[in-house]
């Protein structure tokens, strides 16, 4: 059974979620990847290392500069030619737009928010969390193939395997440039210092309990000492203390660090769904009843304004500074 992975690339490098998907797809069927955009050809080796036996490549700049539509046109015709059983997409900004449009084009199932995939009596079963991760539902496609499945980043751990040099098919399908389309004019970065949230081994995350944007300064300091990334709850983002790119949770990012330190975060399920995959959770909250303590490996009932500065000092002294 052919399982395809839509291999989103950035400047020729596959996004981490792509490697996660390939890793899981290997055990579900014969895996092919579709890599589009300038430099996509450079990704074939990595895609093969993670399990793609075949890679379709089309390097037209339109795939980078025009939202969704060129990729949908190409995928629709590729699918017609090869009829895969399912196509997996990372649930990223572009992945979601492309998979959704494609499902309307083909009239096939679109299953979103997947965190696991399985086979049940031969049928591909998609597991996704509901109600902030308290319930897991299993969904199967009832439409003609392929099922289009949007998988949350960090659902799987990427591991190399297969290790083949994939067969590469270079595509030359014409791009319809005349169609009305959404075109990217400019890209702006608002990058914070330190590691990216998605990649960080340690995350220091702040909630409304910090009291105001000025108090994120101490989080930055602590993060710098720990080599950590800084995250935030939605309450903080809604209040405008931090940009949306910091938000962790159901409507923000899913993270899986080794250590997650929650400071002044109550632990609402829409937040915890995005971080409860952390290996270890440490929480500081002044309310002993805060739900975050139900999942913390170490919980300190106390005031962040007192404890965090002490912690920074303590860490510095142990590092011999």
């Amino acid at each position: 059974m052919a399982i395809w992975v839509f291999a989103e690339t950035v400047d020729g490098a596959p996004r981490p979620v792509v490697l996660e998907l390939l890793t899981r797809a290997r055990s579900l069927g014969e895996v092919s990847a579709v890599a589009l955009g300038p430099g996509a050809g450079q990704a074939t080796e990595a895609l093969g290392a993670y399990g793609a036996g075949k890679v379709f490549v089309h390097e037209d700049p339109a795939f980078r500069d025009t939202l969704a539509t060129p990729a949908v046109d190409l995928l629709a015709s590729l699918i017609e030619r090869h009829q895969p059983e399912a196509v997996l997409f990372g649930m990223t900004y572009d992945g979601r737009d492309i998979a959704s449009r494609l499902s309307a084009r083909l009239g096939t199932a679109l299953i979103a928010n997947a965190t696991d995939l399985d086979r049940k009596d031969g049928t591909l079963a998609v597991i996704s969390p509901l109600f902030g991760g308290t319930t897991l539902v299993t969904t199967i496609s009832k439409s003609k193939p392929p099922a289009l499945i949007l998988v949350r980043p960090k659902a799987f751990t990427a591991e190399t395997g297969g290790g083949v040099t994939p067969e590469v098919e270079r595509l030359t399908d014409a791009i319809d440039a005349a169609k009305p389309a959404a075109r990217v004019l400019k890209r702006e970065k608002e990058q914070a210092a330190g590691p990216r949230l998605e990649d960080a081994a340690v995350i220091v995350s702040g909630g409304r309990g910090l009291g105001g944007p000025e108090n994120f300064g101490m989080l930055d300091e602590l993060a710098a000492e720990l080599g950590a990334a800084v995250g935030a709850s939605r309450a903080v983002v809604d209040a405008g203390w931090k940009p949306y790119s910091f938000q962790i949770g159901q409507t923000g990012k899913t993270v899986k660090p080794t250590v997650y330190i929650a400071l002044g975060i109550s632990g609402a399920m829409q937040h915890t769904v995005g971080m409860k995959g952390a290996k270890t959770i440490i929480a500081i909250n002044k309310d002993a009843e805060a739900p975050i303590f139900k999942l913390a490996d170490l919980g300190i009932v106390g005031d962040v304004h007192k404890i965090v500065p002490q912690l920074i000092k303590e860490v510095r002294s142990r590092k011999g500074k």
Partner: protein
């Protein structure tokens, strides 16, 4: 400038959600129904467009007859008129059926822009707007945290992982807005009074010419199982009596972070 805004009525997101153990569908009985808070930002964005450029805002919702309340709320904020797509045949529709019904309902309507939320608060799949754009053959400007309309085009700041992209599309287009795009206004008392007299057209599957193409009979997927997720176990919780920071540092050292 004619703007269509799609709004969904959902169970109050502050109340915990429940699945019917038999049908494995969302329980909607006995819960308060509200206009999706995400869609209030869509309504606000639509109102801001016509306040600048002139024109009218048509509020469209698909749902049970009670979804009229969600449309009235949007009208009390300032929308011009409403279309309620309601039909027993549409019960338990999936996103694609919803997109088909909304596409059919707006087709006869002159519009320059359709505004939706990026994702609904209850379903959070965010599929419907892109499917709608595809069915109508229109460009989609998604994840807008800023929207400007003029000269026959729309330009947005589109949220990305580490910043935003400036993206442009010719009108007509579909736009999805994030919660960060604006502060949604509260309906005024006058707005609430006026909304009661605004026109809301009701349409069903037959009116839309969609018989046999939407609803439970044409579901693309089925939920076959729903189980409680395994919960994480709680660890140690200690009260800070001056030693809290030290405890955390000890733990971090044990984890080899320091």
């Amino acid at each position: 400038m004619n703007v269509i805004v799609c709004v969904k009525q959902i169970p109050d997101p502050n109340a915990p959600g429940k699945l019917d153990p038999q049908t494995r569908r969302l329980v909607r009985e006995g819960v308060d129904l509200v206009l999706d808070p995400g869609d209030e930002h869509g309504v606000e964005a639509a109102l801001q467009v016509v306040e600048k450029a002139g024109g009218e805002v048509t509020v469209v919702s698909m749902g049970p007859p009670k979804a009229l309340d969600a449309i009235r709320k949007a009208l009390s904020m300032g929308g011009t008129r409403g279309i309620l797509i309601t039909d027993p045949l549409l019960e338990n529709s999936d996103a694609l059926s919803t997109a088909r019904a909304i596409a059919a309902a707006v087709k006869g309507q002159p519009f320059d822009l359709i505004i939706c939320g990026t994702e609904s608060t209850d379903g959070y799949s965010g599929a419907m707007p892109a499917q709608l754009a595809e069915l109508l053959g229109l460009p989609l400007l998604s994840f807008a945290k800023k929207l400007e309309v003029g000269d026959g085009k729309a330009v947005i700041d589109r949220q990305t992982d580490d910043g935003y992209d400036v993206v442009e599309a010719p009108l007509p287009a579909v736009v999805t807005v994030t919660g960060g795009i604006n502060e949604a206004r509260y309906p005024s008392l006058r707005g609430i009074m006026q909304a009661k007299h605004k026109e809301v057209k009701q349409v069903g599957v037959d009116d839309l010419g969609l018989t046999g193409q939407v609803g439970a009979g044409s579901l693309t997927q089925e939920v076959v199982q729903a189980v409680p997720a395994e919960a994480r176990k709680a660890g140690e919780v200690v009260e800070d009596k001056g030693e809290g920071a030290k405890r955390v540092a000890d733990f971090l050292a044990q984890l080899k972070v320091i």
